[in-house]
Symmetry: C2
Amino acid sequence: MNIIDFKWPKGFQSGAVHAGFKSSGQLDMCWLAANHPCAAAGVYTKNQFQAAPVQVTKHTIDQTHQLQAVVVNSGNANSFTGDEGIQNVHRETEMVGQKLGIDPNLIGVASTGIIGKQLEMDVFENGLNQLSLSDSTAAPEAIITTDTTSKKICVETTIDGQLVTVTGFAKGSGMIHPNMGTTLSFISTDANIDGATLQAILSAKIVNSFNQITVDGCMSTNDMVIAMASGDANNHPLTNQHPEFAEFVAAFDHVLTGLAKMVASDGEGASKLIEADVFHAASQVDANHVAKAIVGSNLIKAMIFGEDANWGRIVQALGQTEAKISLDHLAISIENTAIIKDSQIQTFDMDALRKQLASDNINITVDLAAGDYSGVAWGCDLTYKYVEINAAYEE
Amino acid sequence: MNIIDFKWPKGFQSGAVHAGFKSSGQLDMCWLAANHPCAAAGVYTKNQFQAAPVQVTKHTIDQTHQLQAVVVNSGNANSFTGDEGIQNVHRETEMVGQKLGIDPNLIGVASTGIIGKQLEMDVFENGLNQLSLSDSTAAPEAIITTDTTSKKICVETTIDGQLVTVTGFAKGSGMIHPNMGTTLSFISTDANIDGATLQAILSAKIVNSFNQITVDGCMSTNDMVIAMASGDANNHPLTNQHPEFAEFVAAFDHVLTGLAKMVASDGEGASKLIEADVFHAASQVDANHVAKAIVGSNLIKAMIFGEDANWGRIVQALGQTEAKISLDHLAISIENTAIIKDSQIQTFDMDALRKQLASDNINITVDLAAGDYSGVAWGCDLTYKYVEINAAYEE
């Protein structure tokens, strides 16, 4: 598997424009389309108020596990918009279908932005009139909201001697605390794989990637990850019997995990990425939960922003969970400096540790000494900027 | 029931000094003692790493449901301090017992401050040498850490024709997300009531008072509420058969709830108190959980700081819970302005609402239209100051 410059897999084209959802004049609408129906899979937010595009797109993918195109806008989430919101999504699929000559049932829709405002259909139409399909890779720029950078990643691998590309892009920043779905993210590949298998991989791999990041503990109404596979790489169909199945899964997982870390790293106002590694947990649930509790603690997040090593807050966060923890053999390290070993406070150079905390990537490692499971989670520091961004958020 | 100026109930005396735990020279040690053993009750943090004073004091109260004195320090939490920490608590009870001529098994100990540092016993001894018992009401000042004000409340009621006083004080500010226990809080009363009944009232009333506040979602290792009843009011023993039992419970609850709101209102960096009232929930658990989810959302907290009415974040927070919510009859109001009614967005004056958000007390009301239960929770806004305080916390 090689990480390569961002490009679309064989069979896909894209485009991005400023439709007018954002007053700033930035790109706010894009699409990604294949030249024939693709195998498709999706995972969606568990928020009870799933936004209209999430409801409709989930229904579409559930029916046939196929999609040929997705259209995405930022600047308006089309969330909590009732029947009118649902009808607008259907109008979007019809309009895009007509323009591309594709069955509306093969079109996915995603939206992100402010909640509780009907989608401006005239703006959507304006955007659609300008959209075209090409090798343009501007789409990742068009789905961001308070993000400071676009999130995109591309890996290449060889299966049956054929070059297979897996490409993903995502948005992130705020209201990030995914559960079984996530922030908007779109994975495309030219691998030959059926929808059910693609769904199985996506559902399995989302658990340890996007579901292990948090920015602010707030689960969005619009989270959705969609994967599309064109099959244009011409490998033999990928099933779990395929000798190179694991290689494809690894490539797919690398894209998912890479995007998840980019989203955490660029959380609203973030200046640092925090990674928590948990070892020797009694179960996978414990391992994942403890890791996420560490990166989700406001006190730890603020401490990392301040480049302070107030490690008692890690103890506090561990104790707040119901995970099994050895009372005699707990170990905690920050940036490879051992703070606690066998549940005893270690002697360490606090000034040297503080200097290490100036890094942009902070690692916290915890050994629960309670079993054989490991887990990782990613988050970001809590900064003045986060408060500033969220004290006045308008688009 | 009358709210009166702060004083100790009959039978209690107190004192507060600067022992030296805090380098600032502020009061950092206090005690509260009765002239004979009192009925006692306690609730304690559910954090897995209960601090040494929590473990020892819980054991003491569990044995006999009696206490005669409590001693409290700020500036050091005596938490995650192992066997030495436990031994230090026993030394504290012996030293206090000797000085007051009280059985060490009748002395409760509480500590608050930084985690992971052994208690400086020479500092404790220095404080103890200065401590005396009087009508001084300085104790609430001696237990604060990053609090901006002390939290204290006193109510008076009449039972069997006898004046009964219930007095409470608490600390709060950060690491506030109590579960079954809370921030440090001490309730004293001269009511005649046995320890088991007092425990039953405390355990019942903690659920809708301290357990319904959150500042930052972080459950402390040191949370503890202790109640002591001297019996000096000379009422007939209060049991649930007593005709004025409800009156006492109401007075006790007023003290608990009043302190809880003070702690929320003075959360670290807070500029506003947020109250969430939830009506027509399908269960008490749903009602309490939804109310706490609203006041616990970083996005809502930041929006209230910014005096912004981005109400979609309330929808997001509701949807993130697993509470039963009517999809047709949900109602949401902010400061009595109806935003959502029968799940439809209402027309309202956004500028007028923004002006109302300049208030120090913000009310968010949600009607889930799913049952007959109500719940309330209290929190505070998320401010630059919270980040500042927690980016560099040292004592």
